[in-house]
C-alpha cells in the first residue's frame, strides 16, 4: 500500500459498535467514547451505540454539572438521536444507526426508559449479545 493511500477511507464502510460501560464524570472514558462516536459519524460509518453497566448513567435525565464545573455532555446524546432520525428519513444518507440499552443494566440500577435523555431500544442481554456478535468493530470504553 502506497503512503498516500494509507488514510484513504473512501468507500470503506463498517459496522461499528460503541459499548459505553462507564459512569460519566468519574473518568474521561465516557466523554472520549462520545468523541469516537462523533468521528465515526463524520466518516459515515454504520454504528450501534450500546449502553451497559454504569454506562446507562451517561444518559440519565436531569444532569446538572453547574456546581462541579464539568462539561455536561448528556444533551449531545439527544442531538445524536435527532440526527439519527434525520438520517433514517433521508435516502441520500447511507448510515444505519442504532442506540440501544441493556434492560438488565437499567433495571439493576433502578432506572427505566422514562429516566433517559433520549429514545433508545431496550434490549435483553441475549438480544444485545446477538447484536454484538454481528459487528465488525467493537470499541468498549
Amino acid at each position: 500500500m502506497s503512503e498516500e493511500n494509507l488514510f484513504n477511507t473512501k468507500g470503506v464502510k463498517k459496522n461499528f459498535m460503541f459499548v459505553c460501560n462507564k459512569a460519566p464524570y468519574g473518568t474521561i472514558y465516557a466523554l472520549e467514547t462520545l468523541e469516537m462516536i462523533m468521528i465515526s459519524a463524520a466518516f459515515e460509518q454504520h454504528a450501534v451505540i450500546a449502553f451497559i453497566d454504569d454506562g446507562v448513567f451517561q444518559i440519565k435525565k436531569g444532569q446538572n454539572t453547574k456546581s462541579s464545573g464539568m462539561k455536561n455532555f448528556s444533551p449531545t446524546f439527544g442531538v445524536i438521536a435527532m440526527e439519527k432520525e434525520d438520517a433514517d428519513e433521508d435516502d441520500d444518507i447511507d448510515m444505519i444507526w442504532r442506540i440501544v440499552v441493556e434492560k438488565e443494566s437499567l433495571e439493576a440500577r433502578g432506572l427505566s426508559s422514562d429516566d433517559l435523555v433520549l429514545k433508545t431500544e431496550i434490549l435483553s442481554t441475549a438480544e444485545l449479545s446477538d447484536l454484538m456478535a454481528k459487528q465488525e468493530v467493537i470499541l468498549t470504553a
Binding site: 460501560n21 472514558y29 442481554t125 444485545l128 449479545s129 454484538m132 456478535a133 459487528q135 465488525e136 468498549t140
Partner: protein
Amino acid sequence: MRTLNLVNKSPFEKNCLESCVRLAKSDASVLLIEDGVYAVLDKSAKSFLIKNHQQHLSFYVLIDDLDSRGLTNMAMIDGVKKLNYGGFVDLVVNHDVVHSWL
C-alpha cells in the same frame, strides 16, 4: 463471526470479565492478560466467572503475565489454556473480531 474477547482488569477491581461472559456468544474466546490473569486462580471468590461459562466459551491466559505476578505455580482453574505471546498472535489471526473490554 468469531470474537476474541480481551480482559485486562482484575475481577476483584472491575466488572469487565463479568460483563464479558454475560454478553459473549457461544464459541467465543476469552483471553486474560495483565491484571485479568487474577481471574484464573482456582480458589478465588471470583473463579465462578470462568467455571460457570466453560461449557460455551474457551478461556486462555497469558503465561508472561502470570509469571510477572508470581502466579505460575498457583492452582489454576482446569481447562484454561496457557499461551505465550506467539499463541496470543495466533489467537488474534484465528478470530474475526477482537473486543477489548476496557
